[in-house]
């Protein structure tokens, strides 16, 4: 499934800045759904799994929601600092 960012980039003739203002083109989670699944998504990312395949719509939401995007970036950095989840 294409992410919102990838979808916006697929056709250069359209204005990327305007695309950004209009958010993801496809299915996206809500903020509450994003928060609910964010911990699982981050651990999948750190394990090298296909997080977008497991949790569709979360990456697109991050493209459209700056606040959730910041929290995703912070959680990813914080958990990465703690070390691997698999043992």
């Amino acid at each position: 499934m294409m992410t919102g960012e990838a979808m916006a980039k697929q056709d250069d003739k359209h204005n990327p800045k305007l695309e950004r203002l209009l958010g993801p083109r496809g299915y996206e989670l809500s903020c509450d759904e994003c928060f609910e699944l964010l911990d699982e998504y981050v651990e999948l990312e750190l394990q090298g799994a296909d997080a977008d395949e497991h949790i569709p719509g979360l990456r697109s939401h991050l493209y459209g929601c700056p606040a959730c995007r910041e929290e995703h970036e912070s959680l990813l950095a914080l958990v990465a600092r703690d070390g691997p989840a698999s043992a």
Binding site: Y27, L38, A67, A77
Partner: protein, 242 residues
Amino acid sequence: MLVGERERTSVTPVTWAGREEVIYRHRAMERALEGSEVSPSEQSRAWLTALRGDGAERERAIARLHDLLLRAARFELSRRRAALSYVRGDELEDIATQAADDALMAVLAKLDDYRGASRFTTWAYKFALLEAGVKLRRRAWQDREVVLDPESWPAVADPRSSAHEELEQAELLEALRLAVEAELTPHQRQVFVALALNEVPIDVLAERLNTNRNALYKTLHDARHKLRRKLAEDGLVLPEGR
């Protein structure tokens, strides 16, 4: 043997055994909570057991959880410090402590929602990062005006915002303005202009409008959907995808 002596001799060994058991369990729990000698799932179970327990064991687990959440909140502050250089260090520490306190309450209230899909610590961290992020965004905007008049666009569009600079091409700006006027309800217009164009943080707008992030984003999503449909008809953006 007096009754009292028999009671003491029978009770004393039990008491010591009980203390040793408590000490053993305490040390095992400490190791489990640290996660240094156990698997992530065992560590998560240890957290749940300790937090659902009672007495001193639960109190110790809560104190450790608060330390963990405070560390996460300080981590978030350190990432945002550059944007908050004008805020005193002790105020930032207060924000971190408040975020950890609020996150602790949220985690304890939602323990039954934890599904084990991630480590317990990862699950708990997100509450602290959310609380810290919301507080920092609101602090950064506490002295800034949020213009909420949807009819005054684009005059209210902050010319200092990067979004405005990026849309300086007059044709695009005009097409967007017309679509905003024609397609959106007053509330959708208000939310789109504030969040997308003027880059007001969603938690700041939610506080000013007495609503929440999820409801505001739903409004933004619906507004974007309408605008994309209109602008795609004009060939300015891509249509909705799958």
